[in-house]
Symmetry: C2
Subunit: 220 residues, 2 copies
């Protein structure tokens, strides 16, 4: 029995960028493309690109490179984007509501089919055609719908409890937008969205850039 080799995380981060680029190339009428061209346009390393693309199973032709359509199909299949996955979302605040109307998620094969909130004032009707229900209904409904992906856009102090309810509901992968470490069993995958970490990065790096310039101008 062969083991399933997980795709390296950095490859999974780069593949969507190639896809975006390839769709644009396709719109421009480009039929075949080489790793060198992709590398030049995206300012990335062509050996790396060849390796990443190779993981999806496609083989390029010498001289002409890859057929653009086939390459798009191969990457999308590997990323499982051709299969639309259903997801639930918990926390219908501003961010949660925006996600219900964010078309890019569908483009990447993620379809939020129902949202939940504990606040009865928020559960009135649909937003962008997605029903908002009370969280009491989550476990039973999610389990019956056989949904395996859950998105948490609730406040940090509710995140752990929601994660536990999600696991009871049959959720296997959690996309966590709450700035909180989730404690879950090993067989549950958690992807942390890290918005707060992104801001830390930006603010800290900006300070480092400006401090450096200040020192430089003072020493001159």
């Amino acid at each position: 029995m062969s083991t399933i080799k997980p795709t390296p995380a950095p490859t999974l981060r780069r593949l969507p960028k190639y896809l975006e680029y390839l769709h644009e190339a396709k719109r421009k009428g480009i039929a075949s493309i080489s790793c060198t061209t992709i590398a030049n346009d995206l300012k990335l390393d062509s050996v790396q690109i060849r390796k990443d693309i190779g993981i999806t199973g496609i083989v390029g032709k010498p001289k002409t490179g890859y057929n653009v359509d086939e390459l798009i199909h191969s990457i999308e299949k590997h990323l499982n984007w051709d299969d639309m996955s259903s997801a639930i979302l918990v926390g219908a605040g501003n961010l949660g509501k925006a996600f219900l109307g964010y078309e890019n998620f569908k483009k990447y094969g993620l379809n939020i089919v129902v949202a939940f909130d504990k606040d009865r004032n928020k559960i009135d009707g649909n937003i962008f055609n997605v029903p908002i229900l009370h969280i009491d209904k989550m476990v039973d409904l999610t389990y019956r719908m056989k949904i395996h992906i859950g998105i948490i856009t609730a406040p940090a102090d509710e995140a752990q409890e929601i994660a536990e309810l999600m696991i009871l509901s049959g959720i296997r992968a959690i996309w966590n937008f709450a700035p909180r470490h989730l404690d879950v069993p090993d067989n549950i995958y958690v992807e942390n969205a890290e918005l707060s970490s992104d801001i830390s990065h930006i603010k800290r790096r900006l300070k480092e850039i400006t401090d450096k310039e200040k020192k430089y101008s003072e020493s001159n």
Copy 2:
């Protein structure tokens, strides 16, 4: 002249999690705390936590550990969160509009003061008290306001052009939500939000988990 040592990226990713935890500890009335306690509660390594915290400049006391208030202050100061930074946002679609009303950004010291869009139908008035203006006004206004952080929530094929306009506007750090590699000079910091990569990760890992279980159940 001493050089400014950049804080390692993994530390910058962890510090906001400690902060969230410490604010909660403070709310519970806890006055001092040890790395071992933080490590146990967050299921992280205490040596790592001590090292991360040490980078912010605070020194703990033997036996009692850190004063919670001082520790919060030290981390927030290092992350530059105590300084509210102004930012502009370009792309007032669903995601962009949600960010204007997303209170957590302010909590992390990021204040979006004005948003821009190229669509004149979207620039009518304020959203969550943030004015939406036409992108033609961006360069002049941002430069005069001396704003250094720009957020891109526009479609992928507009991202590069917006980034270039931002740089002309005096923006030094870009938070990019468009699934597109931005080509910018070395002195500009880009933080990619990677929502599409997060989805790739989730879908791929979910497939790996379920394939593994399928193989396991078939072989038994």
